[in-house]
């Protein structure tokens, strides 16, 4: 993991001191709310429906046990005993007092964390594949590059007041688990014919009220050019991005309006000026950052095979969990473990202080002190010996963390929605709970197979509904909550925006309608191997429309 150097410590410490003073001046009345609001937002403090909300950055979703324990401590001491892991691999606390935020930020600084750039029109937390550094299908760990981008973009003077917020995601695997094509910049590590590392460089993806899939701006940006090319992209955006209308201010609109060709020309022209400047990324600097992310020394544990075979004989639930929630690791004696924060009927992405402490303990004991937060709002232990899985699983079961539903219909992404969010137009969490309960039978979920269901409580799409295989958008219609359903979205290599299937439904109707959709798929798939998304791509929306609204209705 990256460790703060003297500069980092001094910088974060200075920000805590500065914000403490700003809070003091606000509470004394010296600063008005209008003056204070942009200052608190720069430090991750929002005001939501019921209280303040503090959003804390978890760079590329990587945490140590010590950091996770500190989050548990903050939940317990300063909040209401729980936190919410988000689709940007961050954590949000829903009830901190403003007067406590300086102390919270001080506690975070002690474990090398902060809330800087978790709000505002700047470059936000850089996200990455949550299986990075452990998965068999990557060409290199993408996190050193995410860390380089984090350092470069932190309080970058030129890019702190962009037309709008800016999100970057990095992956290094063939299978995209970081949803890079719905980010402002999406980077995929690739090797060229000479075996050198570079990036497939996507720009202009995003969700919100105008969902767009990112465009490939360059098939290969060399490692040395990462910062100069990114600077060129940011400069073109900063110069031409619209500032007159916040709904048209994201880079996706600029790329769309200019067209990818013209956008690329503008970037190339700017890049030609700066590509050999001080922005060249020296190989030795990359190597220095890579050293922080050196994989843990994993000793061989061939006892795992027998341990698993033995446990499988006695415990079908454990076997199902291993099959569903454990992924292949580069070391054959190890596995990548997904800890579901989606117990059936629970609040997606929420973890209690006790659960956070449990995960920290398990990471320390069995997981080489590493935890990841996934953009799908689960936790991941990336390096667990297969021999330790039975013991680990037993502890997870005790704390409602062992639901074997990773990638299944109840592994739902949901934004906080109208239960917390000041922008929301409808509730998300109760909808997620009702759907998960409707499909509570895990065997049935496994039969349905991979199905990504994502729920947003407003058009801003924090719950990624546009790219859900089934996407649900909550809106307000004549004073009532109303839910639009879209189908066929995806955030993987074949990223696509879903299509609205027809008129929406009330909260009460919705779980039944989702069941109709799933049953339509089950009846129509050619085999168990044809996933929901494959079937939907093959047949389109027609069978779903007929099942939901009737043939006669559809004909009209």
């Amino acid at each position: 993991m990256y460790r703060y150097d003297e500069f980092d410590h001094a910088f974060v410490g200075a920000r805590v001191a500065e914000f403490s003073d700003q809070v003091k001046r606000r509470v004394s009345g010296e600063l008005t709310e209008d003056q204070f609001k942009p200052l608190r937002l720069m430090n991750g403090v929002y005001l939501q429906l019921h209280a303040y909300m503090l959003r804390i950055a978890i760079p590329y979703g990587t945490l140590s046990a010590k950091q996770m324990r500190r989050l548990a401590h903050i939940a317990r001491v300063y909040d209401r005993g729980y936190g919410h892991f988000t689709t940007r691999q961050n954590i949000q606390f829903n009830w901190p007092a403003l007067s406590d935020t300086p102390a919270i930020l001080q506690e975070l600084a002690e474990v090398e964390m902060h809330a800087i750039q978790t709000s505002g029109n700047c470059i936000r937390n850089v996200t990455a594949d949550h299986f990075a550094g452990a998965t068999v299908d990557e060409i290199a760990d993408p996190r050193p590059y995410a860390e380089i981008l984090r350092q470069w973009s932190s309080i970058h003077p030129e890019f702190s007041y962009l037309p709008r917020k800016f999100k970057i995601a990095v992956t290094a695997s063939e299978a995209d688990r970081a949803a890079i094509q719905v980010h402002d910049i999406g980077l995929k590590l690739v090797r060229n014919a000479q075996g050198e590392i570079g990036f497939e460089y996507y720009v202009g993806g995003g969700q919100g009220r105008t969902p767009m899939v990112a465009k490939l701006v360059s098939p290969f940006v060399a490692e040395r050019d990462l910062l100069s090319f990114t600077t060129a992209v940011m400069r073109v955006y900063n110069l031409y991005g619209r500032r007159d209308n916040k709904y048209k201010a994201r880079v996706k609109i600029l790329v769309h309006e200019l067209g990818p060709e013209k956008f690329r020309e503008e970037v190339e022209a700017e890049w030609a000026v700066i590509r050999d400047s001080e922005l060249v990324l020296p190989a030795k600097d990359v190597a220095a950052i890579q050293a922080y992310f050196a994989p843990p020394v994993l000793r061989d544990r061939p006892d795992g095979l027998i341990a698993l075979a033995d446990a499988f004989k006695h415990d079908a639930a454990f076997k199902a969990w291993v099959r569903q929630n454990c992924n292949e690791h580069t070391h054959p004696d190890y596995a990548i473990v997904t800890i579901s924060l989606k117990a059936i009927g629970a609040i997606p992405g929420d973890a209690s202080d006790v659960q956070m402490d449990v995960v920290a303990d398990l990471a320390e004991r069995y997981g080489h002190d590493e935890i990841r937060v996934s953009h799908e709002q689960n936790l991941v232990l990336p390096h667990v010996a297969k021999a330790d899985l039975p013991t680990l699983y037993a502890t997870l079961v005790e704390h409602e963390l062992a639901t074997s539903n990773a990638g299944l219909i109840s592994d739902i992404i949901a934004c906080p929605g109208l239960d917390y969010c000041a922008l929301a137009t409808a509730r998300s969490i109760p909808i997620a709970q009702a759907i998960a309960l409707r499909f509570a039978d895990l065997e049935h979920q496994r039969d349905i197979g991979e199905l990504k269901l994502k729920i947003s409580g407003c058009i801003n799409a924090c719950g990624h509904h546009h790219v859900g295989h089934i996407g649900i958008l909550g809106i307000e219609k004549r004073g009532e909550e109303h839910y639009q359903v879209s189908l066929g979205g995806a955030a993987d290599n074949d990223t696509a925006v879903g299509e609205i299937v027809g008129p929406g439904f009330s909260a009460e109707e919705l779980p039944g309608k989702i069941e109709v959709i799933v049953n339509t798929y089950l009846a129509g798939r050619v085999s168990h191997g044809e996933r929901f998304i494959d079937y939907t791509r093959r047949v389109g929306l027609a069978p779903y429309k007929i099942a939901l609204y009737g043939a006669e209705e559809v004909a009209h």
Binding site: R26, V27, G29, T32, E33, L47, Q48, L49, H50, A51, Y52, A75, R76, R80, G81, Y82, P96, A97, L98, S99, I347, D350, S352, D353, V354, Q355, H399, E400, L418, D419, Y420, A424, R427, I429, P430, Q433, E476, G479, E480, E481
Partner: protein
């Protein structure tokens, strides 16, 4: 049917500066319970509350001070909009199971949750 803005009852609400908690103006002070709120039943009373709103913002001890539409019901004061009802009565989800129960705390009551 859309409420008639001129005749709809109103209360004054804000978030407390220090902890951000939602509060309602009682006529004298601010309360965390909407049922303590002073309900302005006519335009004149509404204007008086607006004056309080301006003052509350000016002295800077409250944020997001706004008038909202309410109705008096058998269960007490109820905001007309769902957003404001949730703001008044807390999240409609509960945290009273498993390891979440240890620090369970909310202003919601069972009756309020049922109201949704």
């Amino acid at each position: 049917m859309k409420p008639d803005k001129k005749t709809t009852s109103k209360v004054l609400t804000a978030n407390r500066l220090n902890d951000g908690i939602s509060v309602w103006f009682t006529g004298i002070d601010w309360s965390v319970n909407i049922n303590d709120a002073l309900v302005a039943a006519d335009a004149e009373a509404g204007s008086a509350l607006e004056a309080v709103a301006d003052k509350a913002t000016a002295v800077a001890q409250h944020c997001d001070v706004v008038l909202i539409d309410v109705e008096q019901t058998a269960n007490g004061v109820q905001p007309l909009k769902l957003r404001e009802r949730i703001r008044a009565f807390g999240p409609t989800i509960t945290y009273d199971t498993g390891s979440f129960a240890a620090n369970y705390e909310t202003r919601s009551t069972a009756a309020n949750v049922e109201a949704f």
